[in-house]
């Protein structure tokens, strides 16, 4: 039986239609956009057409789109590049407690460069409150960076309101939209976003390509210096096959997103209903409704996430967990901790993320094996249903 893949937040296959569109740009149309002959002009055309498509995807102008080698690079440009360029205006940056690990680590780098970083807390569902965010903003705040949606628990932030608040205060607003792209309609204008990071793979494009949307008037310092490509913002010969791939992925996504999201909602509702009704002492992590359609995130009292993951793995099902035992640091997920969970709870989580090639049969397979997996691990557990309470 084929493996069931339910870890779409960690990696997505490149859509075969995208691969097909990329192929001519490896060997036939291999030009360098900086070259002035016809071969170069052909590459320039492909590059600028792609830029226009990506601009449409987020409702931006094409001169606001910068291609990078991935979302992590875009995020570096947005945070470090913007902070360095605006150092004279202030040195305070605000992020949330549940940012993707790349931003959490980048915040530490910013601190070592002399910037001060504040983290706004979230509620038990992982949402940032506007009131609490406002309290963190100061006269010397130059940048707010809050992820559009959590890559772990799937909670979607009130992006429009955050953007509005930042605009009122004259503070730049960056959002890491990697988890949300392809699942939520992105619109940088109505969402009041000034800087936005995107990845190609998260809309079924190739890996190694990303985009930074940069609104006019919100320039950043380049981090990679060289031949001056991308208007000097990101040097290095453009990866035309990758860029074409991302733009084709965005066009497909625009057409198919609504249908896909409806499908993912059906899967999510099936998972949620089953787990909460059929598995005792189970809980939904993240927001019950304001969450990505593709994301189902649960925790089970008394058992540990890596054991859950291994048990699914043994049955040919790929899932993910926030357990420390699977992380590089052996720390539990900072996102789950920020929602108020204690360590032992954060360890017992299971993340199921669906995607383009998921189907109802995948959901059936999970539902079929889940009860026995949970039950078996609970039988091994010394802490399941063992409250130490005694009567006097």
């Amino acid at each position: 039986m084929a493996d069931v893949y339910l870890d779409y937040h960690s990696s997505k296959p490149t859509d075969p239609r995208v691969v097909e569109a990329m192929l001519p740009f490896f060997s036939e149309r291999f030009g360098n956009p900086s070259a002035l002959h016809r071969v170069g002009d052909d590459a320039t055309q492909a590059l600028e057409d792609s830029r226009e498509q990506i601009a449409k995807f987020v409702n931006a102008d094409s001169d606001e789109i910068v291609f990078t080698a991935g979302a992590t690079e875009s995020i570096n440009m947005a945070l470090v590049g913007y902070a360095l360029r605006n150092k004279s205006k202030g040195n305070h940056v605000v992020i949330s407690e549940i940012e993707h690990i790349s931003i959490m680590n980048l915040a530490k780098s910013l601190a070592s460069m002399g910037f001060e970083v504040s983290r706004v807390p979230v509620d038990q569902y992982g949402r940032v409150s506007i009131e609490k965010l406002e309290r963190k903003l100061r006269k010397d705040t130059i940048l707010v960076s809050i992820g559009y949606a959590s890559n772990e628990i799937g909670t979607i932030q009130p992006i429009r309101e955050i953007g509005k608040l930042a605009a009122e205060k004259g503070i730049a607003f960056h959002t890491d939209a990697v988890a949300a792209e392809g699942l939520v309609k992105l619109d940088v204008r109505s969402d009041n976003v000034n800087l936005m990071s995107l990845s190609s793979n998260d809309i079924y494009g190739p890996k190694g390509v990303g985009v930074l949307y940069m609104r006019k008037g919100y320039r950043v310092n380049p981090l990679i210096i060289g031949g001056g490509q991308e208007r000097g913002l990101r040097s290095g010969t453009e990866d035309i096959p990758g860029i074409v791939g991302m733009s084709v992925a965005a066009q497909i996504m625009t057409k198919e997103m609504d249908e896909e999201v409806r499908r993912y909602l059906r899967y999510r509702n099936r998972f949620t209903k089953f787990v909460l009704n059929e598995i005792p002492d189970s809980h939904l992590n993240g927001h019950p409704t304001e969450r990505l359609a593709s994301n189902s995130h649960f925790r089970f009292d008394g058992i540990e996430g890596e054991s859950i993951l291994l048990s699914f793995k043994d049955r040919g099902i790929a899932v993910s967990t926030g357990s420390a035992c699977t992380s590089k640091t052996l720390e539990p997920s900072h996102t789950l901790i920020a929602t108020g969970l204690i360590h032992e709870e954060a360890h017992g989580s299971l993340q199921l993320t669906t995607g383009r090639y998921s189907n109802d049969e995948d959901v059936n397979r999970v539902i079929e094996v889940m009860p026995e997996i949970i039950e078996r691990l609970r039988k091994l557990s010394p802490i399941y249903r063992k409250k130490r309470v005694i009567a006097k």
Binding site: I303, E304, E306, L310, K379
Partner: protein, 259 residues
């Protein structure tokens, strides 16, 4: 090496753990070890006859290697004398399992420690030494940093109207039956109530004990509130875990410290 790259032997013991369960009787002792931060808690039970381990069982909350090392340890020590069993090290267990991923050597390989703990407890019981648990003094919240600063900004000394706490994450400091009652009142209005006690268990009236047991309230044992942190309002509590002798933060919206 990936943290989950396990040997076939580890996977076998994870899939088919040997000796799962508990033992009871006068000739039985148990050893408990754990590190909640990295997520492993283990109990090893031994039955001793003529100074030899006649039977061993375990229960483990933890990752694949935590379960496998517990299973292997109980297999290895059956039939050993207590002195022999005391010489079994974490490394021996790992070797017997054809190795563990380096990152798992420390954290998830505690079964040998639990075994040694069980032997110690057995010998202590045999020599009639009462293994008295140190009684933790009640936390009155008097020396909590930030308590006064956040009074009425997330810190409460009583629960007058539980509806004020709707949808909030509330930490209740265990300080007698009144605090248990407060936690139960709050649990009717919000799904997230954490009751924290400096003791290893909560002792309360029969009625409250029954309600507490069947409630959704999360209990944290052997821990004290050190400091309340936040920006004008309560955001986090710094907790000291007495067993681990470690500090960590939990994210909350309110703290209740009943007088």
């Amino acid at each position: 090496m990936k943290s989950t790259q396990y040997s076939e032997k580890v996977l076998d013991h994870f899939r088919n753990p040997r000796n799962v369960g508990v033992l009871e009787g006068d000739d039985v002792a148990v050893g408990r070890v754990g590190n909640p931060t990295c997520g492993d808690i283990m109990e090893v039970y031994i039955r001793v006859k003529d100074d030899r381990i006649a039977d061993a069982k375990f229960r483990t909350f933890g990752c694949g290697s935590a379960i496998a090392t517990s299973s292997m340890t109980t297999e290895m020590v059956k039939g050993m004398t207590l002195d022999e069993a005391l010489k079994v090290t974490r490394q021996d267990v790992a070797t017997e399992l054809d190795g563990l991923p380096p990152i798992k050597m420390h954290c998830s390989n505690l079964a040998a420690d639990a075994l040694h703990e069980a032997i110690k407890n057995y010998r202590a019981a045999q020599s009639q030494e009462a293994v008295s648990e140190p009684e933790a003094e009640a936390s009155t919240g008097e020396c909590v940093i930030g308590k006064d600063e956040f009074l009425q900004h997330g810190v409460y000394t009583s629960v007058e109207d539980p509806s004020d706490f709707e949808d909030k994450r509330v930490l209740v400091i265990h300080n007698g039956d009144k605090s248990v009652k407060a936690a139960l009142d709050l649990a009717s209005k919000t799904s997230r109530v954490v009751l924290m006690t400096p003791e290893t268990k909560i002792q309360t009236t029969r009625e409250l004990a029954k309600q507490l047991e069947s409630s959704q309230i999360k209990i944290i044992y052997s821990s004290r509130l050190r400091e309340i942190r936040g920006d004008q309002e309560v955001e986090r509590a710094l907790i000291h875990d007495d067993e681990e002798d470690e500090d960590h933060e939990i994210y909350i919206d309110a703290v209740v410290i009943v007088d």
